[in-house]
């Protein structure tokens, strides 16, 4: 998401101005719910009394349940950017390349990668895995700035840059240290294995982790005495993203980050869709019906993208694994690109109308 210009004037205190309400926004859009869940998954099974609850949470990643969890939250979230792209008022007209040409480009690119998977496949896969933590960090930053703006917290350009650096710190850490992505993809193994590189990476990782977790809190504290303080959800968004990527083992990080990022994304995208269409529908459909329709579209497209499309490549002679993994990679990258366009908050954008309307009209929470 792109940052919003800080022009709003209403202050909403430390809680900030919410889209739905403090509990919903902090738990699901701020992804605060992920912290106790991950704590339960990681440490809960050994704690007396809460073992069953912890095991229940961990069972979300069980093979029997995972496909449903993935479809309902993860696949649907990736599909949501495409559904939003084509349902956002005026998007086809204002983004003709993204809406009309980009899908063909991606289909062609995906097909070519499946065709020459021996050489290109692994690079497509590595690109998606490298881009993912950046995308999540950028979303955390975008949401944090949006909440500051909505809450009347006038963060200056310098603070915004600092907030962006803090948001991207987990990505930089993952880029530098996670096996198979980022540096380990781009840099030859011999160069990576060099002692100075190894010691530099070993030294920088804890520093970045510290910056990722403490930095947002420090910025929050710096703004606390101002008339319009930074809403607490802003540092929460950044810290939670840092916990996902830096506290969990790499594979778990991808699973849980994708899960909670998906919920976060679905929550905000449904809110924007409903608010945009409330006005356009002229009361023909209620907010719940709008949200339900939007989600149903995402669900159907998610199933089509991740479950049906790979089978077409299998039919064409590719292996199931390559088809599946390369479709996942291509859909992810398409999602990252599309997000760069559909969440812009420029003066002429429909997003701006949603944010501005709330900021201007809503009373302090």
């Amino acid at each position: 998401m792109q940052p919003a210009p800080s022009t709003a004037t209403h202050s909403a205190g430390f809680t900030g101005r919410m889209f739905v309400g403090p509990v919903f926004d902090y738990l699901w859009i701020g992804a605060g719910a992920s912290l106790p869940v991950l704590a339960l998954v990681l440490f809960g099974s050994s704690l007396p009394g809460i073992g069953p609850l912890a095991n229940g949470m961990a069972s979300l990643a069980d093979p029997a349940l995972l496909p449903f969890v993935v479809l309902l939250f993860s696949s649907t979230h990736f599909a949501a950017s495409t559904v939003r792209l084509y349902t956002k008022p005026g998007a086809v007209a204002s983004l003709p390349f993204v809406t009309l040409v980009l899908p063909v480009v991606f289909l062609a690119l995906l097909s070519f990668c499946v065709l020459v998977s021996d050489t290109l496949g692994r690079h497509l896969q590595a690109l998606y895995l490298t881009w993912s933590p950046y995308h999540y960090a950028a979303q955390a930053y975008g949401l944090a700035v949006m909440y500051c703006y909505r809450s009347g917290c006038a963060i200056d350009g310098k603070s915004k840059k600092l907030l962006r650096v803090l948001a991207l710190a987990p990505f930089v850490s993952v880029f530098l240290t996670m096996p198979g992505v980022g540096l380990s993809w781009l840099l030859p193994e011999r160069a990576r294995a060099a002692a100075p590189v190894q010691s530099a990476l070993a030294g920088i990782a804890p520093v970045l982790a510290l910056i990722s977790l403490v930095g947002p809190l420090a910025l929050f504290a710096a703004y606390a005495r101002r008339a319009a303080p930074m809403p607490a959800i802003a540092p929460l968004l950044l810290a939670v993203n840092a916990v996902w990527w830096l506290a969990l083992p790499p594979l778990q990080a991808f699973v849980w980050a994708t899960f909670f990022h998906g919920i976060q994304y679905l929550a905000i995208v449904v809110i924007f869709h409903v608010r945009e269409h409330e006005g356009l529908a002229g009361g023909r459909r209620g907010a719940l019906a709008q949200a339900g329709l939007f989600y149903a579209g995402c669900l159907a497209l998610g199933y089509a993208l991740f479950n049906c499309l790979p089978q077409a490549y299998v039919f064409a002679g590719a292996s199931t694994t390559e088809s599946l993994l390369l479709v996942i990679a291509a859909v992810n990258i398409h999602h990252f690109v599309v997000d760069g366009f559909i969440w812009k908050l420029g003066r002429r954008d429909a997003n701006r109308a949603v944010v501005d309307a709330d900021a201007a009209l809503a009373p302090a929470a």
Partner: protein
């Protein structure tokens, strides 16, 4: 929090730019892209329906899909899928797991060399982990490459020094390459790590017994039988140790327990029969042999032993001699060893055919001498002299033809 309702916002339309500004071919490409996408999705859906009878699976985890293929027995396809995943150059952890999983599949497919190669790659990927080394040694052991197994096992036990099972497996590998002392030491180490590990006691007892030290073997074998009362082999080996120590009644009880658990142990049945006959219970001895023969009617050892028992019985029943001849002739047909001719000679003598008995005994004597069995030859020669004098051979026990 106060509730509020926002009125429709006219600024929704601020973002609209002139659609005519986009080139016309954009729209054409958009239509082509949409058609291609819808077509591909429909194709994928229909293909899955045709291939599996179901809509596309909800799972997008290659490992889950591979599990389904394994259940259908399509191992070659699973292997192809794992190779495809490896081609995509996954991270080191997934690569490690893929090498192990594909190695195990190759092993199941009987492609041992490729399996060992995968396990070696997994070891190279993460030398600290013992799992691939365990799979590697299992594969090498299955191929009989025990010389290669030993250095791998040394690594394994060095990396998992407290693991009694691994130590016992290492001992077995040492046993297989003939390092008896090394194997005994390793079994003892395993037993010290886990006194309740049956393999350690059983292996140590077996080795001591084979080394002719039944008195030392007795305690570990008793322990193994107590720890694994359901394992026939433990009782059988204990029975053998007790027999060698002259504790016939206990040995008989152990053999009987072993046979109750695993009735197909014919060697144990022959040994039991021998012990019963030695203990003055010939009827039971004969019955054991008949039971065994009923299960394996073409076993030359069983045929020989029953024939010998019938032929050399001090008080034969009517028809015993003829049955003994028939049994001995079948044993000769099936194996034709010195013992079989010797038994045939005894049976022929019992039926009063001393000339035929003499010829058979001579053949037995020659065979025994040819193979250097001087003690056996001595016994046959003594019996041969008896046949020449028109005397049948009489004994109280069955021939020791088998053993536990």
């Amino acid at each position: 929090m106060p509730r509020w309702r926002r009125p429709p916002d006219p600024r929704h339309r601020l973002n609209t730019s002139d659609p005519r500004s986009a080139p016309r071919w954009y729209a054409v490409l958009g239509a082509v892209g949409a058609a291609l996408f819808v077509g591909a999705v429909a194709l994928g859906f229909l293909y899955s329906l045709r291939a599996t009878g179901r809509p596309p699976s909800l799972s997008i985890d290659p490992r889950e899909l591979a599990r389904g293929m394994v259940q259908q027995g399509d191992l070659e396809q699973v292997l192809a899928e794992q190779d495809a995943e490896l081609r995509l150059d996954p991270g080191p952890r997934q690569r490690f797991e893929l090498y192990i999983r594909s190695g195990r599949l190759l092993s199941r497919l009987g492609r041992s060399d490729e399996a060992t190669s995968r396990f070696r790659r997994a070891i190279a990927e993460d030398p600290a982990r013992v799992e691939p080394r365990i799979f590697l040694v299992a594969e090498l052991a299955a191929q009989g490459h025990y010389e290669e197994v030993i250095p791998e096992y040394r690594e394994i036990v060095a990396r998992a020094p407290g693991d009694a099972v691994l130590q016992a497996n290492f001992a077995y590998a040492l046993e297989r390459i003939g390092d008896t002392q090394g194997a005994m030491d390793a079994y003892m180490r395993a037993g010290a790590m886990d006194p309740n590990l049956p393999q350690a006691s059983f292996g140590l007892g077996r080795l001591l017994l084979s080394a002719g030290r039944p008195a030392e073997a007795l305690a570990p074998l008793e322990r193994a039988a107590a720890l694994q009362p359901e394992l026939a082999g433990s009782h059988a080996l204990l029975g053998r140790a007790l027999r060698e120590l002259g504790q016939n009644d206990r040995a008989i009880a152990s053999y009987q327990r072993a046979l109750a658990l695993e009735p197909r142990l014919n060697g144990v049945r022959v040994a039991l029969s021998h012990l019963l006959a030695e203990s003055g219970r010939p009827a039971e001895a004969e019955q054991e042999l008949r039971d065994a023969l009923a299960r394996r009617p073409s076993d030359p050892v069983l045929l020989n032993n029953l024939a010998w028992m019938l032929a050399t019985d001090p008080q034969p029943a009517a028809g015993d001699a003829e049955e003994a001849v028939a049994l001995a002739e079948r044993a000769v047909q099936l194996a034709g060893d010195a013992e079989d001719y010797d038994t045939l000679a005894a049976a022929l003598a019992a039926s009063g055919r001393f000339e035929d008995a003499h010829r058979a005994a001579l053949r037995a004597l020659n065979q025994a001498r040819e193979r250097g069995d001087l003690k056996g030859a001595e016994g046959i020669a003594a019996r041969l002299r008896g046949y020449a004098e028109g005397r049948r051979h009489v004994e109280r026990s069955a021939r020791a033809g088998g053993g536990a």
